[in-house]
């Protein structure tokens, strides 16, 4: 008979070593030392500018006027009663709303198509997400080249297709210029929706669809009963992110229309830029930024509250 292997005990580890007074202090406060750089960075780059801008919005901060007189709510008043500001806010709301809605529907459709595996899926996927990596300035420039009269090919192609002369000023005529801005935004950001929604779709357990198939549930019923409820948190997340980004729309406007004709394509960001950096009414621009921040915060609050309410499944 073989002897059973014996297991020897480890030596007792004993009490932890005693620390000196300084070592104890360092041991206790080391965590503060570790977070200090990050905290300082946030204070310097985030909190201080924010507080400073709040101060600026209540004073007359003008390079040509000596001294910074306190002007109360005058800066805010100027923004609120500026018809261009109101128009820009209104345009921002519906331009971002329409763009994001189109991106959402298209992104969802593409995600639903791409969730199944088929030959060439990897290649198509890579091509689909390319617009995400392109700078919005380049996107704006590319669409300008495509749409601009008289050199862009769009009018020519439409002329050929419709059999009659098409002479649309895509960057100058209402409502076509809005259409141009929306199409550039949709082209760039639909892949974002697609990627997030696809991630959500692939996270749905396939067993649910198999159980549904065995239950005799048709594709449409399965979409409502399984896909939609599972995807809802992801949808809300994608919409929140996208909407937050869209209401700050600036680069494509800057490149494609320059806010024009006149102030027809002033979005909130573009308006604030113009007031602050071409007219140099810095205080008014800062006050406007604060108002815009409040407006944005309201939208975000509604969305985020809804997002947090969705229960985990």
């Amino acid at each position: 008979m073989q002897p059973t292997a014996t297991i020897s005990r480890l030596k007792a580890a004993g009490a932890p070593p005693r620390l000196s007074g300084f070592a104890q202090w360092a041991d206790r406060h080391f965590k503060w030392l570790l977070v200090a750089p990050a905290v300082l960075l946030i204070l310097a780059l985030s909190v201080y500018p924010l507080l400073f801008s709040l101060v600026v919005s209540f004073i007359n901060y003008d390079f040509q006027v000596p001294g910074h007189a306190f002007v109360g709510l005058k800066n805010f008043e100027r923004v609120v009663f500026d018809p261009v500001a109101r128009w820009s806010l209104w345009l921002t709301a519906w331009l971002s709303g329409i763009s994001v809605a189109i991106e959402f529907v298209l992104g969802l459709l593409v995600a639903l198509t791409m969730v199944r595996s088929f030959p060439g899926r990897g290649v198509i996927m890579s091509i689909l997400i390319v617009p995400l990596f392109i700078s919005p300035v380049i996107v704006g420039q590319a669409w300008t080249l495509l749409l601009q009269r008289p050199f862009g090919p769009t009018n020519y192609i439409l002329t050929q297709l419709l059999g009659q002369e098409v002479t649309i000023g895509w960057m100058t005529e209402s409502p076509w210029l809005y259409f141009s801005l929306i199409i550039a935004d949709v082209w760039q950001w639909t892949p974002f929706m697609f990627v997030i929604l696809l991630a959500g779709l692939t996270a749905i357990p396939p067993n649910l669809y198999e159980a549904a198939e065995l239950d005799g549930v048709n594709a449409w019923q399965a979409f409502w009963a399984i896909t939609l409820p599972h995807l809802a948190p992801m949808m809300l997340l994608a919409l929140t992110f996208r909407l937050l980004d869209a209401i700050r729309m600036f680069d494509t406007i800057f490149i494609m229309t320059g806010g024009g004709p006149g102030t027809r394509t002033y979005t909130a960001s573009y308006y604030l830029y113009t007031v602050g950096f071409t007219q140099f009414h810095l205080s008014q621009a800062t006050a406007g930024s604060w108002l815009f921040l409040i407006f944005t915060a309201l939208v975000v609050m509604l969305l985020v509250r809804r997002l947090l309410k969705t229960e985990p499944v």
Partner: protein, 364 residues
Amino acid sequence: MAEVRITGLHKRYGAFHAVRGIDLDIRDGEFTVLVGPSGCGKSTLLRTIAGLEESSEGTIEIGGEVVNDFRPRDRDVAMVFQDYALYPHMNVAKNIGFGLKARKMPKPEVDARVAEAARMLGITPLLGRFPRQLSGGQRQRVAIGRAIVRNPRIFLFDEPLSNLDAQLRDEMRGEIKRLHQDIATTMIYVTHDQIEAMTLADRIVLMRDGMIEQQGAPLDLFERPASTFVAGFLGSPRMSFLPGTLTLDGSAAAIRLSEALLPVAPGRSLNGAIDGQAVLLGLRPEHLTRAHAATPAQGTFRYDATIDLLQPTGSRSYATFRLAGAPVMAELQAHDVSRPGERLPIDINMNRASIFDAKTERAI
């Protein structure tokens, strides 16, 4: 209610051959358990019967009808999944009734059927709850409810108890067996747990590497395993295998294990075995007992064992000792032996022993 006939079934995933030529007849109302180690193809076979996987070759008949080209929904089968696959956003009643609603059954009838299924499974108080508010056992009950409410021709179970803790598993096993007794529908049940297979099955189909290793009534497989694989898979603790040589001396046969000569039960057929053949002697723990009589009974070999490992379970004690160099486990009464190192006489019941060819590992 339907019988299932599977003929020459193959399933390949690219180069991987998961199911390799299965022929299986399952009678109407039979409880068949597909059992085997992970990756033996049992789940694939079940999913192919359900239609969730397409077969690469061969036919599947349900109720005399070839269903290869039928969609899963048209096969009239219901399946219970390991992870329950409940719809998380519907309450229990809606989960159970969803399949009926999808098939456009009038609401009063759906409600009546759901109520009946819930009553059978004892989940009536849970009907208004959501899956996330239920325990694992309750969820599995709901999943079974969703299957029985449709009154399908066949029930398929894919390791339904694997996610439950041991006590709940015992309880649910009993309930599934009772359910089968009550509704007597054909059931095909996949598990890797040999206890589930033994306790539930009318027939066990033991699979290995995509093929059927042996099929039959649980006790047939347990008592007359066709190979060391079957013998080792069924029974817990496992059968002990002892390498030896077969000696044939006229009508008397025996197995020589280096020092000991163990007589083979007289009258046991040893078809085709030759003198000097290398064999494996298979002994189940319950075939070894502590010797009490002065002389061993007919067909019993007595051995003076020194116990080197003792595992008491309360009702029984599993004692391991060495016989001709190989470890053997004996199932003793709780107080037969008190500590390792003890010497005691063990009677080995050779009438119940299995003998396998050492090379092919098939039963002799």
